[in-house]
């Protein structure tokens, strides 16, 4: 009885090792470097900061995105920054306009940068 148990033990250990080896191989192949888009996936349902073309910035909660960086953002605050140049003094006057949007679809081609919200230092 003890012999049989031992025999089964050896065989199943062999099988187990074979299986683990297979799994390990699978893990090394899928452990390849993730794409930047995979890392954006980690920010889903988190608040993010998006820099866009035309001096626009968005701060909102990321609900969805795709490979074009089209995004669905909730509870968004949009900031539009303009620079006015005084004709006489030539000084640059920075103005920003903000507005709040409950739910927003962002077309991906306008997106420049995506990041967790800025911690102003």
């Amino acid at each position: 009885m003890a012999d049989e148990v031992e025999q089964v033990g050896v065989e199943s250990t062999f099988l187990l090792m074979f299986y683990v080896n297979l799994c390990a191989k699978h893990q090394t192949t899928t452990n390849t470097v993730e794409e930047p888009l995979d890392l954006i996936r980690l920010s889903l349902d988190e608040r993010i900061y998006v820099k866009m073309r035309n001096d626009r910035e968005l701060r909102g909660r990321l609900h969805a995105y795709d490979q074009h960086l089209n995004m669905i953002l909730g509870d968004v605050e949009e900031t539009v920054t303009t620079v006015e140049i005084d004709e006489e003094t030539y000084e640059e006057i920075y103005k920003s306009t903000k507005r709040n949007i409950p739910m927003l679809f962002v077309r991906g081609d306008g997106v420049v940068l995506v990041a967790p919200p800025l911690r102003v230092g």
């Binding site: 993730e34 930047p36 890392l39 073309r53 960086l69 081609d109 940068l113 990041a115």
Partner: protein, 88 residues
């Protein structure tokens, strides 16, 4: 002369994708079409030149914003990616 040129070519010959694989993990400078500069450690990138950078700093004329953690740059805006010898 032709042999010399071929020798030099074989030393330097490297597809862009080989370069991209090599520089992951290194400090890089990414310049966008808009002229904005981003410096940080290259986390990863893909064939569209979408980039993920860590410990990013944004430079326009002077230093503007600091982004800690990952910053993702959309590939179509990228002008170039260059390695930098970090001088502390």
């Amino acid at each position: 002369m032709a042999e010399l040129q071929r020798g030099i070519m074989s030393l330097r010959k490297q597809t862009p994708s080989d370069f991209l694989k090599q520089i992951i993990g290194r400090p890089v400078v990414v310049k966008l079409n808009s002229g904005v500069d981003y410096r940080g450690v290259l986390a990863c990138l893909d064939g569209y030149m979408n980039i993920a950078v860590e410990q990013t700093e944004e430079y326009v004329n002077g230093q503007l914003k600091n982004k800690y953690g990952d910053a993702f740059l959309r590939g179509n805006n990228v002008l170039y990616i260059s390695t930098q010898k970090r001088k502390m």
